[in-house]
């Protein structure tokens, strides 16, 4: 549990951070340190330099407009969970943030740190895909935007380039839209508190019928996946328990993740049970 020797640079600005990354091939960004530091202690990660962006003010803060919620990279899980603005404008995000790990982790861990890690058992990636989040990324050539579904490439792999910084995340302020409801449920691993399976469900109702459905399952596959067959099965239907059950039965996600605590078969089963429950909650909330 002792890391290899590593240099440390406290970045004074976003530009400084990017330049330092550019110059140092083995450098890694450090924010909350809740994924990187444990990996370094196990010597699974051996960066030559840590570029600490934890003190760059422009990377923090939550901004809410009528249509959007913009969350700065350094915003901690505890801040997201406690934000009354997020609770109003994008309640599912606050609901999920409150379920991440434990208070100590929530007080230090950051949203961008979690997303850039692309851990298959993390909570946030599932939410981002469900919400069609847009990630703002800055590199040597300036800023670009990446859609959540194109951001997560594989286990612990994202579309971020080595010298890019994920600066903020934009999600829709669906809480301000009538007829929208969402819910996030997780089966918590009893040891790690990561999501064995996490399900984000969003439902939009128009005239008492389902106009729009999102079901995203995390933990069963390398990256979270839309349960597309469930989503399409519900469109245009009345949001009854029977219809939701029938739709969820159509789920065809092939679970590939499994461990000594929960096999892939069990995860696939959990995904269905939790999808149904999350959809029921989302409908209830959409009705208001």
């Amino acid at each position: 549990m002792y890391s290899a020797t590593v240099d440390y640079h406290r970045a004074t600005s976003l530009n400084d951070a990017i330049k330092t990354l550019e110059k140092n091939k083995g450098a890694k960004l450090l924010a909350g340190g809740h994924s990187l530091i444990p990996a370094m202690k196990l010597r699974v990660a051996n960066p030559t330099m840590l570029v600490d962006i934890g003190h760059i003010k422009s990377l923090g803060g939550i901004k809410v407009t009528k249509k959007e919620v913009k969350i700065g990279a350094l915003t901690t899980h505890a801040t997201v969970a406690a934000s009354s603005e997020v609770k109003d404008a994008c309640p599912i995000l606050a609901e999920a943030a409150a379920q991440i790990a434990d208070p100590q982790v929530r007080n230090r861990g950051t949203i961008a740190g979690s997303l850039a890690q692309s851990d298959p058992a993390a909570d946030y990636p599932t939410l981002m895909i469900a919400l069609d989040a847009i990630f703002s990324v800055t590199g040597p050539n300036g800023e670009r935007h990446i859609e959540a579904r194109k951001f997560f490439k594989d286990l612990f792999t994202t579309a971020l380039k080595r010298d890019e910084v994920l600066t903020s995340i934009n999600v829709p302020a669906y809480g301000n839209m009538p007829g929208m409801g969402g819910a996030y449920l997780k089966h918590r691993h009893p040891a790690s508190s990561y999501a064995v399976v996490g399900v984000a469900a969003m439902v939009g109702l128009v005239d008492g019928k389902v106009d729009h459905t999102v079901v995203v399952v995390g933990g069963a596959t390398a990256n979270p996946m839309h349960a597309a067959s469930v989503e399409s099965a519900l469109d245009g239907m009345e949001p009854t328990e029977a219809n939701i059950s029938a739709a969820v039965d159509k789920m065809d996600i092939e679970a590939t993740m499994g461990d000594s605590y929960a096999s892939s078969e069990y995860r696939a089963h959990l995904a269905k049970v939790m999808a149904k429950r999350a959809l029921m909650m989302a409908v209830e909330r959409a009705i208001g």
Partner: protein
Amino acid sequence: MSKYVGASIKRREDPRFIQGQGKYVANVQMPNMAYLAIKRSPYAHATIKSINTKKAAALPGVIAVFTGQDLIDGGVGKLPCGWVVPDCKVPTRWPLTVDKVRHVGDGVACVVAEDRYITEDAVNLIDVSYDSLPATVDARKTTESGAPLVHEDIPNNISYPWALGNKEAMEKGFAEAEHVVELELINQRLIPTAMEPRAAVAQWNAPTEEMTLWTTSQNPHIIRLLLSAFTLGIPENKLRIISPDVGGGFGSKIFHYPEEIIVPWVARKINRPVKWVATRSESSMTDSQGRDHVTIARMALKKDGTITGIHVKTWANMGGYLSTIAPLIPTAIYITLLSGLYKVEGIYGEMWGTLTNTVPVDAYRGAGRPEAAYLLERLVDVAARDLGMDPLDIRRKNLIPKEAFPYQTPVAFMYDSGDYHRLFDKAVEMADYKKMREEQEKARKDGRVVGIGIVGCIEASGPAPSAVAGSLGFALGPWESGVLRVHPSGKVSLLTGSHAHGQGHETTFAQVVADELGINIDDVEVVHGDTALLPFGMGTYGSRSAAVGGSAIVYAARKIRAKAIKIAAHQLEAAEEDMVYDQAAGKIHVKGSPDKAKAFGEVAFAAYTAHNLPSGLEPGLEESAFYDPANFTFPNSAHIAQVEIDPETGQVEIQRYVAVDDVGKVINPLVVDGQVVGGIVQGVGQALWEHGIYDENGQLVTGTLMDYAIPKASDFPMIETSRVETPSPHNPLGVKGAGEMGTIAATAVVSNAVLDALAPFGVRHIDMPLTPEKVWRAIQAAKRN
């Protein structure tokens, strides 16, 4: 008379702990200190072909690198097994292995360097060439032909067989039986996970040839003796062991570990202080582990529920080596407990201690007794279901009546005291068992899956009469010592051979002494954990401190009182037999004349000035006592739990937990509650989450706290505790052990509750831990049938 004993006094040690001001081994810091790390095997079973230390030794900052052979050449001895049963084959165990590695984490070399980070770099530069071998991990399969041999000189990987009981009576019980239940049970491997990892710091004083070793031990004197006599060869009078604040042990810090040899050996070799602190990963793969039994358990009954026979066959996994007292656990504190709270004549247990390529297994909270309680209480529940009886009724039917005490079981133990019917009555009343069952009926009609577990459990605590322990295989005698040093001012230092690592002795022992001497508790300081300050002591394990260590202190206090009476009588010019030691007032006065009195402080001062003492009486006021118990004590319990299961996910929720324990007389209810609740939580951990899993290659799959799930406070309802007090008749405090009863009852009661919930599905048994997937699968399988 008792002012303090029986009172819920807040733990005096807690302010320093909760403010982070405890002093642990890792806090010991000295100038010129060097740091040590161990090169450990990534293989469970492999031959060591060569070890190349050149690159590591050449790394700047590295002071030296040593292999197992270097240590042997430097005079270290093999690690002894301190509890050897008849026909026991004790495998050879060096501090660092030289021929083969026998479990993942087995040490092969060590590095000492200028800082801890360099040691880690250097460890990675040691090049060990291995020939990997097939591994054996299962307690029973390891004895089958074709299994790889862990030690070539131990055939079939069987270290020892053991059996106890009356085989004929058992066979008769089964012959007469109208019903027999049989269960094959796995009591899974557990990883102790004390909050503080093990650590050792050694300081060699070259001119005086004295060694001081700070180590995370529950019994520093035993470690000193083993180091001196077997492993390090420094005489006891030149060897000081200090176990300062220790952050939890649960048994795992009883044992003599390789690092306790390596660290002082290296400190002497390089003539510098040396520190080693285990990482959490090292703790997981080197601290002795718990449980790991495969058992075939059978119970014979009459149709009315009367138990006529119990037969148990167990394969107990000992791991790659025999840890310090490993053979004790599945023998003399396992099979001896198979009578439980029940009057049964035909009991016979047999077992085999087997070797595998896993971390050694030894005592872990409960140690043998939870394994016995679990299988017995599972058998009783299955029998009740088969016979159509309520689990409460079948238990009541078989309880040992209170008139039968002291009660001789057919498996060696003589139970000291108890009132098991009262125990059950109280638990049933507290839980409102009848109403629980009614509500369960209603819930089932609503499609909810609710279960109620009820168990009655026995424990043998407070080891032990030394002659009995000796006859069972212990190389030492588990008595205890205590010293009371009354200072001239009347303040008292209480020196105890017991060791506190969470138990609260600094409070409870002071309560006992303050009452015995009639002084203020603030005038008593408890000293423990340093071989230089104390007479020989046997340490803390097996819930023995109050019953054995506490009794030694009582007898020392009574010697102090006797001497104080002599001094007061002399000074008051009265006859000794006319004196009254008034403990409530803290004074010694002449019978009938309370004004003719000497305060305790006055007597203490007089003892040290020695101006006016009875002729022939030695000055000073200090007494010691060595107490050898007449018997174990036998705490007992009735626990009731209610669970609800989510039938779609298999998730278990504990809704209620009622614990009624008889731990004899209670010194401090707050501390006992803490022990009971802590024990329950640890037992529930085994029932629902904890599992040290080795794959077929001997790799520890659950080697980190990301995978190995220990209980969290948020997983529990408020645990409701109460007590029945039947004082132990054979120790002066009337106390029994309180540290392990919770753990012993909890696995059984939670398992029974879960299986009761699943009864409508026809699920008969699931092995622990009762994880959601296992429960869900059991429901699925039952539905298919």
